[in-house]
Symmetry: D2
Subunit: 359 residues, 4 copies
């Protein structure tokens, strides 16, 4: 029948549209690892999102990310009048598109409770339907048996914590004690929770940051305000699902959001130096030297707190450079700065020492 | 139960997101009428689209349109494994959101057959489920009984007409003879079909242009290539569903696509003059005069074929103006131009006469 | 000689380049007047600017302004080694280009002294060379004899007032007493001085705001940070030099800078209502009403301080609209807001009352 | 005196403005060399340009270029009524700013005659005043004695060659015979001359492309139409004036304009492969393979003429990638394409063979 041929053609065209173009994200990268750009929190029509699962693959592919988890709510199913509940449907639908675009699709779901415990994502699961149980601890236990990485979502979300401050409740401490909590969202959608830096540090959990997108990425995170969605960097040995999982349980993560990066000290410094470099002085008038400070990433670096005889602030533009004029003594001494948009703790930012290159 | 409160909160927030901001489209307008900006062809997850119906309302609201028809395929239901077939679902879901945003939602559907007859939209229907019949003529008859406006979609679509040229088959002539065909798409998605100008003119049908969007509007029609989706202008007596319908059956329409406008002569000239005006000469050196030519619309006007003693071409920018230097004789004679981006027939464009204003 | 023909051709082409396109600025306008968009402070290579005078005409023409004053420094002539001092040269060079583009060119100069008195522009002069005198009061007297409007520039400029706070010195009071001071810059380049609102109000002086451009406008005031240069609105009876001058001495001015407008009460409210309008309620559910609030200008309106039962803030976008959902009581009562980006005094902003239109 | 301090402050601030930010151009680069981005043709107020010489340094610095030549006309001095003729002034004024920004400033001038010989730039000169002689050959001889590189400018400029086609006149052949002509502009402003590819190839001359800017770079070469000015790539051993000169006389150049690159075969292929790479197949369904094709430059690569079993065209986006689906046979055979925007001759473009990487 002719109609069939026609329909196949339509389908084929729809698929082609996805092809379009993929942007390359020029981000700081951790030497010795593959820096995977990941979004571990997103929704579709299979809970309260506005898009079909394949749209999520198209978005991450075009935006230059490597990994997406679709994490529809288990307990919140506002579309069920029209779409029969199937907690694995989004995963099944999106998988072949992900394979066609070399995107790593993480099977996940969002366990959606009032606070405490709040909302938690179970990632790297094998069956979401089996996580639809009344008792919260039973759900987590089942997810952990599937090998899940458990992420506590937006712990300071004002709908659940009116003061916006994340708090560790007994249930969270119990999860940690059991080894059943592996990461916390420091950043979600357009909010961030500074205390999560300490909560992750003190409890040896991974720092996470995700879009929690319900609508369309390009409408929520638009220029000029946003040049990219919030995302988690995972420093993996290889670009595979297995390596990704290993790296997450090993807590090798950082969070890129707006024009800021949140990362623990051990990662923050090498990330910075992977993209910033100082040239040799190109002018020396006997009093001062002039040299270039370059930044090869898509993230502007905001240096503040410069010392006497050097610029007090330096905004090193994304994919750009500035000229630094500094005292001659800095031929031999380093110039200390704070990088005010690389966050290393709830009250600390990265400290760096700039040294002009040798000729 | 706490969860319920929470869930309602989530829903409320999702709704708020739509609020954002609505753009005002500064388009040519037909004096004496309200120019409604309309898209009569769009899809959702209820056939082969990628979005939930409310997304279509958010898009038209933000983009400054007045009217949207969701026209999911009747015969093509690739999501039926996950979403039970309900041809009225998209309409039911989107209606209350449309009401909250003052958007006129037209109940529609796409009758999806191989060529001939090809694809046709039935607009202003009351029940799409009842149009799911095997015989094409039975479907149209049923739609017409519901009061439908029948639009023939993309008649030169290459998947159905490999040479890209629209052709009137006997079935189309039969529809016209019965008064069962009311408009044809001159423009669809990113394609246009020049011959449709003649087909509409000769058969007294309305000229239509629509997005046929399956994915996300802001991803398909992006700057700098596109500043707006393709749309149909309908010149209505009032901004109501009834006036809209009256105007469409009366064929008071035009099509705005890319930076072009397709309209029959009777509308093209007043549309042009609703936004373009010439100032009085501000300089006169005895040989030449200088005057301003302004354009208050979002559409650049491309004037070509200027006579001796005047600029051969004039590109009057959207929301801008140019200075025209012309022979003094044009103080008393009009300056003839073709407006190459206002299309009035398959082989004709609008002719205008520019006259500087009197002091 | 062939070379001559060639050179004339080059000159002609250079002139044509200016033609390009002029943007129309959609600004609030004072009913009953022509709102002239003016920049009364700019520099060229004839003092310390980086451009030839005709570039200043091209810039204002393209940017949609009506009036420009070139105000090179009298006492600061860093280019004199290469360009012989001629304080009227910029005016002479730019005049014919201004005439070709219907731009009103104001003959001006900047009297450049240390503080007090600081820098002052003399506008509407006839000869700048004659203002090159050692005694400051002699210069002002001479300018006033030429019919000049005297503007005190950037009174809180940190290079002259390290605390950034403008101060009336005896010399300024003397100027005012003599009627020799007519306006003060509230805004200059990227700085604004709140106290100037009071200084102008109390002394019956005109509020001024200008670019003080030395380099290139499109490089200094770029999107997304700036959509236009700072400018003075002058509410004139006609678009002529004479009407401009009359309006300025009558202090009918306002200042548009960034996304803010500074204007005294008598102008602020009609300016706001010239572009903002509320529609009739399009929905009424018995508890609340829904209506549109539209803004036809290029300036976003920031409404804050909304009452119970109405949105606490409303950001009405440039060339756009929002939907307002408010208590039914606002069918009969006005909804009070502050317009936080329309400044009416050193500590006050415009108060407005929003009323949905009658059906 | 206070005024002095003030004035110095003003000067200092003006200098700082230039600092702003420098963009990094991600262009194809020739392995083994430093690819210097150069503009060898620009004007200032010292002939018929609209800007002061330091503006030219600010522009190239911000735009990421390495080299600028200011080449004001010797014979065309329309500003001489205001600016005494000094053919070396622009060089003297701009040199210290260039030194402060690590920009290589080439001392140059434009010898401006009717055609033939037309306009020629003398680059790397030591004194432009001494080139102001009536006899053309005397001028070139004098320039060559100064060590000049002689570039023939816009040989098909319609003001001098009404048919737009460059022609070798006897005078040009004489220059070549004497070794007094070293390069020809293939691209100038917004025009290009295909035959120059052959003229340079056959006569062993360097391919040149420049802005010939008279106004302001950011106004002439604006997004979305232009993302950069036209420029000459020079493949130098080091980033020094001497290396630059050596490379130019050795004809190691290419031209980047719009989204095209003109380069002789020996450079075109390595330039392409310096930024384009194919990944290993990430999917293999037994019939077809899928792999990524990436482009790390700011220049989109347009591949056309693909064979059976592979995409007929591939638009590999700037800083982006596409997915290629191709027949399994291309695991072992290369896939041939033309790169339609890398021009290698008057009628030829670069041919490449794409091979997916080994796993």
């Amino acid at each position: 029948m002719k109609t069939k041929t026609l329909l196949i053609t339509i389908l084929f065209l729809a698929t082609l549209t996805l092809t379009a173009q993929r942007r390359i994200l020029n981000t700081p990268e951790l030497p010795g690892y593959v820096t995977l750009k990941c979004d571990f929190h997103s929704h579709t029509v299979f809970s309260d999102g506005l898009v079909w699962p394949t749209q999520r693959i198209g978005e991450v592919w075009r935006d230059g990310l490597d990994v997406i988890a679709i994490t529809d709510h288990i307990e919140y199913q506002p579309r069920k009048q029209y779409i029969p509940v199937d907690h694995n449907a989004a995963w099944k639908i999106a998988k072949s598109t992900a394979d066609n675009y070399n995107i790593i699709l993480v099977h996940g779901t969002e366990i959606t409770r009032s606070m405490p415990p709040g909302h938690l994502n179970a990632l790297f699961i094998t069956d979401a339907d089996s996580l639809n149980k009344p008792e919260f601890m039973d759900v987590i236990a089942a997810a952990v048996r599937q090998g899940a990485f458990i992420q506590w979502n937006h712990p300071g979300w004002k709908s659940q914590e009116p003061d916006g401050i994340p708090k560790m409740y007994p249930v969270h401490k119990e999860l940690i004690a059991k080894g059943w909590l592996h990461g916390i969202e420091y950043y979600n959608d357009v909010e961030f929770y500074p205390l999560v830096m300490d909560m992750c540090h003190d409890n040896k959990l991974a720092l996470m940051g995700n879009s929690d997108i319900h609508g369309v990425i390009s409408e929520e995170f638009m220029e000029p305000e946003y040049t990219h969605r919030p995302m988690t960097f995972v420093f993996a040995k290889e670009r595979t699902l297995e390596s990704l999982k290993e790296a997450m349980f090993a807590r090798r993560t950082a969070v890129w959001y707006g024009n800021s990066l949140a990362a623990f000290e051990e990662y923050a410094a090498p990330l910075f130096w992977s993209v910033v470099s100082a040239g040799a002085p190109f002018k020396d008038d006997g009093k001062a030297i002039w040299f270039e400070l370059s930044n090869s990433s898509d993230m502007t670096m905001d240096l503040t707190g410069g010392p006497e005889g050097a610029p007090s602030t330096l905004k090193v533009p994304a994919n750009g450079m500035v000229v630094v004029k500094a005292d001659r003594k800095y031929l031999t001494e380093p110039i200390p700065y704070s990088v005010s948009n690389i966050i290393t703790g709830s009250t600390s930012v990265l400290k760096v020492e700039i040294r002009p290159a040798k000729k």
